[in-house]
Symmetry: C2
Subunit: 164 residues, 2 copies
């Protein structure tokens, strides 16, 4: 796996996002923060992970601005920042994917709105609100593209069809 520095230098916002939140434990810690966990012991009990690993991941998430350490030094509390909360659509979409493909449509946990109504499936939509399916997605270099990214798009060929 690439180290922290490698991914941060990728000319790709997905790689850069994964640099902050891209390992299993990290995303599950954020999940627990959404579920209301705030204390070291709560994360530890929920995830059953080694204390030094948990401590390291919490430190990194605070350094990345995803969690904020509050409380007292003896009894710290960890809560999501705005940046951390902004991960909600990605996390819910990934959880729904797991509900469908890895939990046989029997979700262990249901995500709802304030009134307890389950959220519908997260969709990609266009500017008019019409759903955009995965096959209709297109990609192009953006304002942050470097020379390598531009060259890559220029070299890209039409993909060949693989029958399913």
């Amino acid at each position: 796996m690439p180290g922290k520095t490698d991914l941060a230098t990728f000319n790709c916002s997905l790689a850069r996002a994964l640099n902050d939140v891209g390992d299993w434990w990290t995303l599950l810690i954020i999940r627990d923060a959404f579920l209301g966990a705030q204390r070291f012991s709560e994360f530890q009990r929920s995830l059953g992970m080694a204390r030094n690993t948990l401590s390291d991941r919490l430190d990194r998430l605070c350094a990345a601005g995803v969690l904020l350490r509050g409380g007292t030094p003896a009894r710290p509390l960890y809560c999501l920042t705005e940046k951390g909360r902004a991960l909600a659509p990605a996390l819910v979409a990934l959880q729904q994917w797991g509900d469908q493909f890895a939990s046989e449509n029997r979700p262990p946990v249901v995500v709802t709105d304030q009134r307890g109504r389950p959220l519908p499936r997260v969709k990609l939509v266009d500017g008019d609100g019409a759903e955009v399916g995965p096959r209709d997605l297109r990609f192009r270099p953006g304002p942050g593209a470097d020379a390598r990214t531009r060259a890559r798009f220029q070299a890209m060929k039409q993909p060949q069809k693989v029958s399913e």
Copy 2:
């Protein structure tokens, strides 16, 4: 990090999703597949990862049903299955998060619809289509919850406020 087996046994669809797609390389391989990469050499050139690691991740993604191996044994092609394409909302949401927080709103790559119009931000919405903010999310045990998940929700206390 937990091994494959550990995460698959979690009573949580997010953990189970991460079991299939939860490391940096894996998600970047899927990104490249969305961008049109199909050959080993294309993934290798794009990601610059070790050949044996790439080979291992491609094998796992085929075993997980995310990629399909086609072409010929001598020149295999890898393409996304329906299960793989269903990751699009999660990937685009995570990329947009990276655009905002790790790429200073200058996206290296812009995701568009078929007509080239950039996709708006991925939102969580309720059944009426109104946006549900991260603070308005609620969680409850679902039909796939096991005894431990149920007990956990019962034990959950109201989180304390941490000032920002």
